[in-house]
């Protein structure tokens, strides 16, 4: 086994090493039940990162996801009583639409996705603030349980959240590896000009990638809203940076065409292990952010595959 052949597995190795390290320092970390519970909690974050993967995979970025999720928590809470389970459709459509507009502004108006999605996020935030009347809203408990109670049960000890995450991951993976759309995404990410010269409708593919990102952000927002049984314009704050970090640490660099949704799974797990380890190892609260940053540098340095990066910008 040479270093070259090991490269694709670096994120997994990093994850394994981290888990073992924390487990060695505090064996109770490895208790399966608590691991499952910790992992189940990050499902909304994971789903958001999953969507973000598509945007980063084509070499862009989506900074609107957090605000999309904020908007969706409000939409879900406000309209749950009226539409029941179908509120999910509205939420997903809203996420899709915002993502599609971001994509349109990026591809057709040549506004870099960094700025386009940031600006679209502001617009979503305005929507959330307006719709919520600038208040924290809570869901009607009965309506919530009737429509979305299934999201948070357990079957045979497996939390349904994990099942949902698994299904979405499988779906995203299938989309990425087995469909014409996924192949086109890869082509756009790795060589946009060649994709154009092959007659691919590159604009549409890019717009769809951002729309997917918005859609997954909406699903993440919906789950979070149901989990917290409420919504407001700030509820999902804190998701954005972590979602980006999860994608990057997993080994999907911003250069595009490399990595993918499985990497994001690993990346999210790495982020969660680091974060949970802080609590387990009783790291001083004021030190946590600094240590998080340092470990992040180490983790990224270990996980990214530099062989496809000609120039490191």
């Amino acid at each position: 086994m040479s270093l070259e052949t090991l490269k694709p597995y670096f994120p997994w190795i990093t994850l394994g090493a981290l888990v073992l390290l924390v487990g060695a320092l505090n064996p109770s970390f490895l208790n399966p039940a608590s691991l499952v519970s910790v992992v189940a909690d990050i499902v909304p974050l994971f789903i958001m990162a999953l969507g973000m993967t598509f945007a980063i995979y084509i070499g862009g970025i989506d900074l609107s996801v957090q605000q999309v999720a904020n908007l969706v928590t409000v939409v879900a809470t406000v309209y749950l009583a009226q539409f029941g389970v179908f509120v999910a459709v509205i939420c997903v459509l809203a996420g899709f639409a915002i993502g599609a507009v971001s994509g349109w502004v990026t591809t057709r108006q040549f506004v870099p996705s960094f700025v386009a999605t940031l600006a679209m996020g502001f617009i979503a935030l305005s929507g959330a603030r307006f719709l919520s009347g600038e208040r924290a809203l809570s869901m009607n408990a009965e309506a919530r349980d009737a429509s979305f109670g299934w999201m948070f049960g357990t079957t045979a000890g497996v939390p349904h959240e994990l099942v949902i995450a698994g299904i979405l991951l499988a779906l995203a993976w299938f989309l990425q590896t087995r469909t014409t759309f996924g192949r086109a995404l890869k082509a756009v990410g790795a060589g946009e000009l060649a994709a154009v010269s092959s007659g691919l409708n590159v604009d549409r593919i890019k717009i769809l990638a951002f729309a997917l990102s918005g859609t997954f952000a909406a699903i993440a927002g919906l789950m979070f809203s149901v989990k917290l049984s409420g919504g407001d314009a700030n509820l999902a704050n804190g998701f954005l940076i972590l979602a980006i970090v999860a994608v990057l640490v997993g080994g999907t660099p911003l250069t595009g065409g490399v990595g993918g949704v499985i990497n994001t799974l690993v990346g999210t797990l790495i982020v969660v292990v680091i974060r949970t380890a802080m609590v387990y190892l009783e790291v001083d609260a004021t030190m946590q952010q600094m240590i998080f940053g340092i470990i992040l540098i180490v983790a990224i340095a270990m996980t990214i595959d530099r062989s496809k990066m000609r120039i490191v910008k």
């Binding site: 109770s28 910790v38 909304p44």
Partner: protein
Amino acid sequence: MSTFIKDFIEREKINRRNFLFASAYGLGGAAALGALGPSMARAALTDPTIAWSYRNRTNPYWNEIVSGGEAFVESLGMSRDALTHLINEGSSEKSLADVKAILAKTDGNLALAIDTNDAPNARPVVEAVAASGAYVSTLWNKTDDLHPWDFGDNYVSHMSWSDEGPAEQTARILLEAMGGKGGVVHLGGIASNNPAIERLQGLKNALKDYPDVELLAAEPADWDTQKANQVMSAFLTRYGDEITGVHCANDTIAYGVLEALRAEGIEDMPIVSYDGNPQAVQLVADKKILATVFTNPHWGGGITASLAYHAAIGHFKPSEEPKEHREFYGPTILVQPDDALEFKANYLDSVPTYDWTDFWGPSNGPIVYK
């Protein structure tokens, strides 16, 4: 007023009687004793981990809260480091994840004091704590349909502050100082936060009695000094001399407003704020701010942790306590220039030693839902 403060301190220290803020708002009728929730299998814990989960360390308010938590831990004969800090950085997601992590780590042997960052987040936190047999007391944020008595003993208590009344009180001081005429602007907190809504409502209530004062504008400044500074600058452009008074939703906002005025060379603008941070109290003493409202976050932080801890070790059984002992308002005290220095000396410069088992002495009556 100074004797008032002295009394207040005395009572908070030793008196078990409820102390009520001396005005006529906010206190509803006594809540009836509700049906008690199912009690949990685990009766009491031995030597539980004590944890405080809060938003961040960059706000003096939360530092005060934490200092109370630490003082409580020290009162148990432990070092202040024994208190576990969980900082959510304004993210509900992290708040919940941290709670889950520490529950897993301690295997439920935990007494948790928490502000859940956002009201909706309180329910999953409480459910998670109850499910693992730990004990939790909440501060500030929870939704109206979530009640400690629905969770047996594990959800020990919730403390909040009724801000509408005190904010109205400061507003009246402000409006008097303005001579009952002119224009006032309000710089609020994060718009969806409950205290931000209540503090603005307090101003609006007071304005009803001052028909000659116009509320020129109310903008959110997100509890943020820099944002407040910018919003105030823009207000000065828009309204100029029409502004004769400023109502701030908290002290950190007031700092930004003061600096914006200072940049314009305006020194004598009447301003009131909220929270009673040491710096703000000093500004009140210097008559830069007319009044602020002290909510005693030190006590709030300590007593919230204490409630969770003592319930956890079985010192008292929450389900046997009346509802007003499980949802109650924290104390508020108005600070004005003539008593500010004395208040500061007694209250902030040397923090009083509290009896952390006097759970409800300084509290301010049961929480009332509208």
